[in-house]
Amino acid sequence: MDLFPVWLSLRVALTATALTLLIGIPVALLLARRRFPGRNVLEAAVVLPLVLPPTVLGYYLLLVIGGRGPVGQALAAVGLELAFTWGAAVLAACVGSIALLIKSAQAGFETVDHQLEQAARTLGRSEWSVFWSVTLPLAWRSVLAGAVLAFCRALGEFGITLMVAGNIPGRTQTLPLAIYDRVQGAQLGEANALALIAVGVVVVLLFGLSRLARLRY
C-alpha cells in the first residue's frame, strides 16, 4: 500500500500548525488584550474561514496565488511556484485551521489576570519576558488545545486543498484526498486502512491532550 499520503499529510499538518502558532498567537494576544479600531472586523475575519464553504475559500486563494494572481506573479518573478505544490497544501491547511487556534488561545489569554502582567512590568520585565514568563505559562493549556484542534483540522483539510494544491498522486495527494480517490476507484481495502490511520492519529492526539489538561501549570 502506498503510504505517501500519510507522510505528506503529517508533514503538511505539522508545518501548517507551526505556521498557525507563529501567526495565530500574536493575533490572539492582540484580540485578547487590546482595544483598537477595526478590532471587530479582525475578529470577524478570523472566524470567516470556519463558516465559508471551503471550495469558495480555495477558489479565492487560487485567484491570489495562481499564475495570474498577485502573489503568484510575485513568486514567479523570483522563480517560485506555489499553486499545486505541497506548499499550497500547507497554506490551505493554515487557512482552514487558524481560526480554531486563535479562538482557543484568545480565550486562554483573556482568562489571565491583567494585573499579573502589570505586576511583571513593575518588576522590570520587558513585554517579551512578560509573555514568556507570565501570559503563556498561565494560558498554555488553551494554546495547546487550540494547536491540537488546528492540527487535526489541518490533517483532515479537503476542500481548500483540492482547489489550490490539486490531487496529484505522489505530489499533493494528502490523506483525505487519497481516501476520496480510493473510494472513487473502489479500492475499499486501502480506503479503510487510510481512514483508520487518520482516526488513530486524531484519537491519540485528543487522548494525550486530555491527559495534559490535568497538569497544574
Binding site: Q115, A119, T122, G124, R125, S126, V134, L138
Partner: protein, 374 residues
C-alpha cells in the same frame, strides 16, 4: 528621605482625576471613598496608566512630565507595587515569586537577595509552596517581599488589607506597619478605612471625586479636618452647622439650636470668619459629658457649653451605648429627630440608670467642639 511630588490630570468620560500632593514623610496614605481616584493615582505613579498632563517626580527622578514628554516605562521606575488581592504569580513558587524582579542580576546576587528577603519577612520554609497553598497573611508577606526585593525607590500598596477578614485585618495592619518601619522604604498606601490610614501613614491625603480635599499630617487630619466634606468622608458623627457670633484667634463663639457655644480656634490654622457667617463644626460623641445628678447643681465655670435634653433613641454596641439626644429648645432638631449623638461606656449607662432616667444636662468642653473651615 524620599520626596514624592504628584501633579496629574487624567480624563475619562464621566470622571476626571485632577490631583496634586507632595510628601516628604516616609508613608503617605491616600484615603477616600472608592471611585475617588486613589488606585488610578497609584497606576500613574507606577507607569501603568499615562496621565494626560502633569508631573510625577520621586526624589530627583522625573517619572512623568507632560510638558517635556518624559514618560518612564514601568520597567524603569523601580517601584514596588503591592496590588489589591496581591496578584501573586499562581504558577510560581514563593521563592520564584520573590525573585521575579531580580532577573538580569548575577545568579549569586539573585539567590542572596531573595534568601535575605524571605528570611526577613519570616517566609522561611515556605519557599517551595505555591500561592494557593498560603494563608492570607503569608500571601501578603510574599507580595511585600516580591515588591521589596527589587529595593524599590517607592512602595505602592493598594488596599493591602481588603482581601482579609476582620480579625486578621487588625493583626496584619500592625504587622504591615512594622515591616514598613523596618525596611524604611517610602510608601504610598491606598485605603478607604480611616483607622487603617491613621495606623499606617504619617501623612494622609484625602481624595473625593478625583480631587484632593485635604493633605495633612495624620494628627492634624484627625483633629482638624479641613471641611465638612472631609469630616463626612472620615465618618465623623455630629457634623453640625451653626452661625458665627464672634471669632478671635483663640476662641470662636457660635449659635446653634438657640444655644451659644464656645469652641477653641485652631492654634495652627486660626480661622476668623465674620460674624453671622455660617459655620460647620463637629463634636465627637464620646466627648459629650452627661452631668451626674447626685453631685449638686452644675457649675458653669467648670461645665462649659451647658445644655439640657432628652434621650429619644439609643443603641447598644456591647461595650458602649450610643444615645440620641434631643435639645430642649424650639425648632427642628439638627439631625432628623435628634440633635446630638452621645457615646457612653456600658458601665456608665448602668450606673447612671440611663434606661430609666431620660432627661439629662450635659456639657461639652470647648476643646471638643472642632470648627470646620468652609
Amino acid at each position: 528621605m524620599t520626596v514624592v511630588t504628584v501633579e496629574i490630570v487624567k480624563r475619562y468620560p464621566g470622571f476626571t482625576l485632577d490631583v496634586g500632593w507632595r510628601a516628604e514623610k516616609s508613608v503617605v496614605g491616600l484615603f477616600g471613598p472608592s471611585g475617588a481616584g486613589k488606585t488610578l493615582t497609584l497606576q500613574c505613579l507606577a507607569g501603568l496608566v499615562r496621565p494626560d498632563a502633569g508631573r510625577i517626580v520621586v526624589d530627583d527622578r522625573v517619572f512623568f512630565d507632560g510638558a517635556s514628554g518624559v514618560d518612564l516605562p514601568p520597567q524603569r521606575r523601580r517601584i514596588g507595587y503591592v496590588f489589591q488581592g496581591y496578584a501573586l504569580f499562581p504558577h510560581l513558587t514563593v521563592a520564584a515569586n520573590v525573585a521575579f524582579g531580580l532577573r538580569g542580576r548575577p545568579h549569586g546576587e539573585r539567590r542572596r537577595r531573595s534568601a535575605e528577603v524571605i528570611e526577613r519577612l519570616g517566609l522561611g520554609g515556605l519557599e517551595a509552596r505555591y500561592p494557593s497553598e498560603l494563608s492570607g497573611g503569608q500571601r501578603q508577606r510574599v507580595a511585600l517581599g516580591r515588591a521589596l526585593a527589587i529595593d524599590p525607590a517607592l512602595l505602592l500598596l493598594d488596599e493591602p488589607l481588603s482581601a482579609l477578614d476582620a480579625p486578621l485585618r487588625r493583626a496584619l495592619r500592625d504587622e504591615l506597619r512594622e515591616v514598613l518601619a523596618a525596611w524604611g522604604t517610602a510608601a504610598v498606601v491606598v485605603t478607604h478605612d480611616f483607622t487603617e490610614a491613621y495606623r499606617l501613614a504619617d501623612r494622609i491625603v484625602v481624595y473625593e471625586g478625583g480631587r484632593v480635599i485635604q493633605s495633612a499630617p495624620r494628627a492634624e487630619l484627625l483633629w482638624q479636618p479641613a471641611s465638612a466634606a472631609v469630616a463626612g468622608i472620615m465618618g465623623l458623627r455630629n457634623v453640625l452647622h451653626g452661625t458665627v457670633v464672634k471669632a478671635t484667634p483663640e476662641r470662636i463663639q457660635l449659635r446653634w439650636r438657640g444655644q451659644t457655644l464656645e469652641a477653641v480656634n485652631s492654634p495652627t490654622r486660626s480661622y476668623l470668619p465674620p460674624p453671622d457667617s455660617p459655620i460647620a463644626f463637629f463634636i465627637r460623641p464620646e466627648y459629650v459629658r452627661l452631668i451626674r445628678k447626685d453631685r449638686g447643681a452644675p457649675d458653669p465655670q467648670h461645665h462649659m457649653n451647658l445644655m439640657a435634653g432628652r434621650i429619644v433613641g439609643e443603641a447598644d454596641f456591647g461595650t458602649v451605648w450610643s444615645l440620641r439626644l434631643r435639645l430642649e429648645a424650639p425648632g427642628a432638631p439638627a439631625q432628623g429627630d435628634f440633635d446630638l449623638e452621645v457615646e457612653v461606656p456600658h458601665l456608665v449607662y448602668e450606673i447612671l440608670e440611663i434606661e430609666r432616667d431620660r432627661r439629662w444636662q450635659f456639657s461639652i468642653h470647648r476643646g471638643s467642639i472642632h470648627v470646620l473651615p468652609a
